[in-house]
Each structure stands twice: as C-alpha cells, then as structure tokens.
Symmetry: C2
C-alpha cells in the first residue's frame, strides 16, 4: 500500500507512493482543504484540472451538515461532491477543539455543540470511525484529544495518553465495522520531547497504516516545530507515510520534507486567496518551468523569501498592472483585472485567486518531488 521510492542523501526527504482505492498518490504531497465537501470557490471540474492527487475533508463538518445519512444515500462523499480521486478526512478531534462553542471531554468521547444551531452532539472515537467509513473515504484519521498552547504539562500528558487509549478503540472499531480505509494515528504531546516520544512509541506499537503529527499550529511558537518534527519522525517507522497536520507556509513545507514528512494539508493557499494574498514565484519569467527552476537550481528554498513572495492584489499598485496573474492556469487574466474584481467585490475574484494559490502549492510539491529525484533536496 505504501512504499518509499527514493531516499535523499542530503536530508531525510523521500519520494513515496501511497496506493488508495481511488488512485496512487506520489509524495511528498499537499491536500487542498474541502472542509464542507467543496474546496472553497472551486468546482469539481476545476479540481480535476488542478490535479491535487488527493483532497482533505472533515468528519466534524460533514456530520453537522449535510449529515452522514445524506452522504451515504448519495453514494458516499466521492459521489456527493463529484471527486473521483482519493479523500482523507480528519477525525473531528481538532475541529471539536477549535470550532465548537462548547466541548466536554470524558473518557468515553467528546460532547460538543454545533456553533450555529446549538444542537449537542456526542462524538466518541467509535463514532468518528463509523462516520468516516460511511463517508467512504480512502484515509481516515484516528480520533484524538487535542489541547491548545500553552497548557500545563500534566494536561498535555493526559490528552496525549487519552489519544493513545482512543487510538486503540479506533483500531478495534475499524476492525469491527470492517472499514476499508487506511487508518492513521495522530501523535500528540505538545512541545514536550518526553510526551512526543511516548505518544509516537505507543502509536507505533498499534501498527497504524500511517502516522500524523498533530497538535501543531495550535498557537505554539513556530520555532518549536523543528524540534517536534525531529523528536517524532525519529520514532516513526520508515515504511509508513508521515503526515504533518495543518501546515504550512511554503518554506515550512520544504523544511518538513527535509525532516522526512510526506503529507501536508493547509488552509493557507485557499484562505489567503480569499483576502487577495497571492503566492508568486520569484524571478517571474514567461516560462513557468524556469520560474520553478529557481527552487530546483538552488536546491533549497527553506527560508521565506528564497524562492517566492506574496503580494496583496488589492494594493493600489496593481490597479494598472496589466501583466498576467500567472503564466500558467490564469495567464489570460491581468493583475489589474483581478484587482478590479476584488475592489468591486465580484465573487469571481476569490475563485481566480484560489485557483492561482492552489496551483502554486501543487507546483511547489511537484518541484519538491523533482528536486528529491534529482538529488537536490
């Protein structure tokens, strides 16, 4: 199901292949976020053109609306949203932590309230497994107990150990319901080495199909991420995919790849697009391959600013910038036009910006894979 195709000699980076029922995914890869069964502003047809290999959706959101019975009757999430490639769903652990108005954790599971309707739900690990099974996803995540930053050591330890106990219940329940998805465990433990090591070791014993590093990007200083990566990856088997959840900026992704991470998801490209922030290759050039070559030739790009920049298209200077938005999927439209669409609140603005940023991120991943292949990363 998973194989490491090539290991870098320069870093812990690796080329991987992950087989799912809906296709093979070559890593390292990035998963655009389709929280509510749609990548915001993007149609199923546009997704096919963008070729993201795999997308991510959310157990929590789909449970609340439209609800799993509807998606089940539609023939599963793939049929419902008309996406025929692989889908990974987060388990809901992070979303009940970050989104619900009310959250009460017991050993049994999490009670939470839908922030819009106030309706209370109970989500034990088993329910999360069943929902992901009913959605028909390719990769399901174990249900974890997520804690914020900062938090008391004892509280972080307690959440991590509960995550381990819930992981066992997830595995048992997956077997019971005969779910066909790959199931990934989520390493917790905050910014504490001892807790990350314990979490990783316990989960590895359970022989998950892959391992994610969770509880990052919850408010901790960004410089702690490298430590968390180093400690955790060292404990994870080479033979299983590694997924850094919810990150990140392009330079963070490059760094994480160099630390041995294979999988990413992040709302940055889509969310920032909606605010008019575009990711742009440095040394803009008429040939996109050349522009991408900036990353290739230097074989690095680990610091912000070495291979890309961001612009805010709503800045006045773009009102008269008649150069194309990019040289690839939006070469027909000028920056001046996109500026105008944002300034006049035309909904097309967000779509074009999203198409641009997703193409940037997916190209970044293709370049990363190319550079590992060439021995540059």
């Amino acid at each position: 199901m998973f194989s490491v195709v090539k290991k870098s000699k320069k870093s812990a980076a690796r080329l991987t292949e992950l087989k799912t029922r809906h296709g093979i995914i070559r890593g390292p890869f990035f998963m655009p976020v389709a929280t509510k069964a749609a990548v915001k502003n993007i149609s199923a047809e546009e997704l096919v053109v963008l070729e993201p290999q795999i997308i991510l959706s959310n157990t929590y959101h789909l449970m609340l609306a439209p609800g799993t019975p509807i998606i089940k009757r539609a023939g599963g999430l793939h049929a419902f949203m008309q996406w025929s490639g692989p889908i990974l769903t987060d388990s809901g652990g992070f979303q009940v932590f970050s989104l619900s108005k009310f959250r009460k954790i017991t050993e049994h599971g999490v009670q939470f309230a839908d922030p819009s309707s106030g309706t209370r739900y109970l989500l034990p690990p088993e329910k999360s497994m069943t929902v992901q099974h009913e959605l028909g996803v390719d990769i399901a995540m174990a249900f974890d107990d997520v804690i914020g930053y900062p938090a008391e050591y004892a509280a972080v330890e307690q959440a991590m150990q509960r995550t381990t106990r819930w992981a066992k219940r997830c595995i048992a329940h997956k077997k019971k319901i005969k779910a066909k998805y790959a199931l990934f465990g989520i390493v917790q433990g905050g910014t504490h080495k001892q807790l990350r090591l314990e979490s990783a070791r316990e989960l590895v014993k359970l022989n998950f199909d892959g391992y994610a590093i969770g509880g990052v990007a919850v408010g901790e200083p960004r410089n702690k991420m490298k430590n968390i990566l180093n400690w955790t990856v060292a404990e994870l088997p080479e033979t299983k995919p590694r997924y850094l959840m919810g990150l990140g900026r392009p330079e963070e992704i490059v760094t994480a790849v160099q630390h041995g991470i294979d999988m990413f998801d992040c709302v940055i490209p889509t969310r920032e697009a909606r605010h008019g922030r575009l990711y742009i290759w440095k040394n803009p050039s008429p040939a996109p391959r050349q522009a991408r070559g900036t990353l290739s030739r230097k074989g690095r790009g680990t610091r912000e600013g070495t291979f890309y920049k961001t612009i805010n298209i709503t800045n006045a200077k773009f009102a008269k910038d008649f150069s194309p938005i990019n040289q690839t999927n939006l070469k027909q439209y000028s920056k001046a036009y996109l500026h105008h669409l944002f300034k006049t609140q035309e909904p097309l603005a967000m779509r074009l910006a999203t198409l641009h940023n997703l193409e940037f991120y997916l190209t970044l991943m293709a370049d990363i894979r190319k550079n590992i292949q060439k021995g540059l990363l």
Copy 2:
C-alpha cells in the same frame, strides 16, 4: 449590419441577424448582465461554454471602477475581461436614476455621487458616448433621462423630450469622436401612449442603428407593458433591431418576442440564482430536447406555468433529492449537493445556480428561435 431573416405569420415575432465587429448575433437573443466587467460568479471560460452570443455591461459602473483609463490601457473591455464576443453597454442613464445617492439633472447632463465613495461625477450625453467608445463596445446606448413610476404627466413628458434632445447630441458626438459602435436610441414616455408615440417618432427620424424601449420595469404595473410594447413597436422601423430593456421573466420574454422584440437583458436569472431560485423546465425528462419540446409542441408558453417552474433549492425537501440539478450543464451534481452548498454558504453554490439559470435562459431563446423557424410562435 441588421437583417430580418424570417417573419412569423402567427405574431410579430421575427428571426434576425445582427452583425457586429465581434460576431453575428442571431435574434431574438438574451444578454447576460456583466455589470462590473464580470457576469457574477462566472468566469470568461464558462461564458464561452454558455455561448450567450453577446453580454451586457454598464457605462456607469465601469466609469466608477476601474475607470475608463484603466480599461483603455488594458486594450478595451473585451481584453480586460477576456470576452471575445459582442458587448452592449447601457449608457448610464438608468443607473444614475436607480443607483446613485444624489442625482441632479440639467439640460447639460446628470450630476451624481458615487454611492460608495461619495465622489461627484458629471455625466453629459457626450461623456457617455466617449466612455462607451473607450470601452470599445459593439453596441452603445444613447444617454437617456429616466423617470420612475408613478410620475406627473408633465414630468414624464419633460424627461422624454430631454431624452430626444440628448439623443441628437449623442449622434452628433458619436460622429465627432468617430466611434465605431452601433448606437441605439431609447424610447421613453412612461405609460402614456401619446408620449411613447412622440418619443418613438422623434428618435426614428434620427436614424439610429437600433431602438430600445426604456423606462419599463421601473415600478409600473406589469400589465401596462403590453400597451407600451404595442404603441412603441408600431412606430419602429422593421429594418432595425428592437430591444426591450431590463426584462424579464421567461413568459414576459415570450410575449415580447410575439410583439416583435429582438433583444433582451435581465438580472433575473443571475440574481435569483444567488438566492437559490432555479428555473426548471416542466415535465422534467432525461432528454433536454424533449423537455424543451414542451414549449415547441404547444407553440406558446406565454403564461407563467405553461412551460417552466421555479424552485427554491434551499427548501428542506431538496436535502434528500439526489436527482441531477439539470440534464445539461450540471448533470453531474445532485440537487441535494447544491442544497448543501447553499445551506453551508459555500460560494460554489451561487456559481452552480447561476450556470443553471443562464443555461435555462439561453436555451429558452434558442427554443424561441427554433419555434419561429418552425412557424410555431
């Protein structure tokens, strides 16, 4: 430039051809509204697929943002918005009436304030002609003095007579600036027969390239429209295109075609789509041609309800309706999915609904042309 290809024996309906620099338009036709250089929620690529023959944009909006200097530098409105088919622009007369916060009319022109910035503008007929010239549109509208309903007879008469005087200035200025667009006059006169007749007769003397019926859909009872149509069309030359501005519902369009109208524009399909209201052929059938045949076979469809219905996709009953949105351009998506997108405020919702309604309106026009050809309308 314009020819009547076939005249119906059953009504005043006719098949027409209008040649423009950006293509030939077969009438009767409908112009989707791209007020601010974009059909709301629709990309240039989607427009090409929808094949609307021609779209409508607005002098008033484009003057305010991005401003004509920008569009001129972009190479004109076609290049700016990446639409290579014909474009008609309204002159701004209706928009300063309906949208501006402040409007002061003198014989020279209209003073108005941008409702968002408060900036004051002066728009004499000559300026409207120049702006439409700089936009590079195919069909420009004369600048008219629009009055609401109800209004005093004397006020309607005054606005109509000013429209005539401004029409002369528009023609003179078009000549002076050597604009290449076709220029259409706009008949005013409210709901008063005598004023409509006078307006039409005076404008016809000026030998415009086409004639529009303006000042409808400004609050007057809908049943007055047939009278206005009858009085006005009788005065217009058969050899020139006739355009009923700002209308309407499907059955109103059919009626107007039967009264000899060739051209339509309306925000109904796009605006109602954004509120989840979809236009649906009656007797839904897997073969769209058959569904359209409902109109064809009966050879009428002039009353609401005879050939279509509207549904509100946000109604609870569509939550579990897994039938396709339509059998044509959105056959891959279920109504349940579109319902979900609306309920969860996914921006894709408005796009899909807009694509559906525009396809309905354009199919309606194609069916109308087919039925005139067959002698059924």
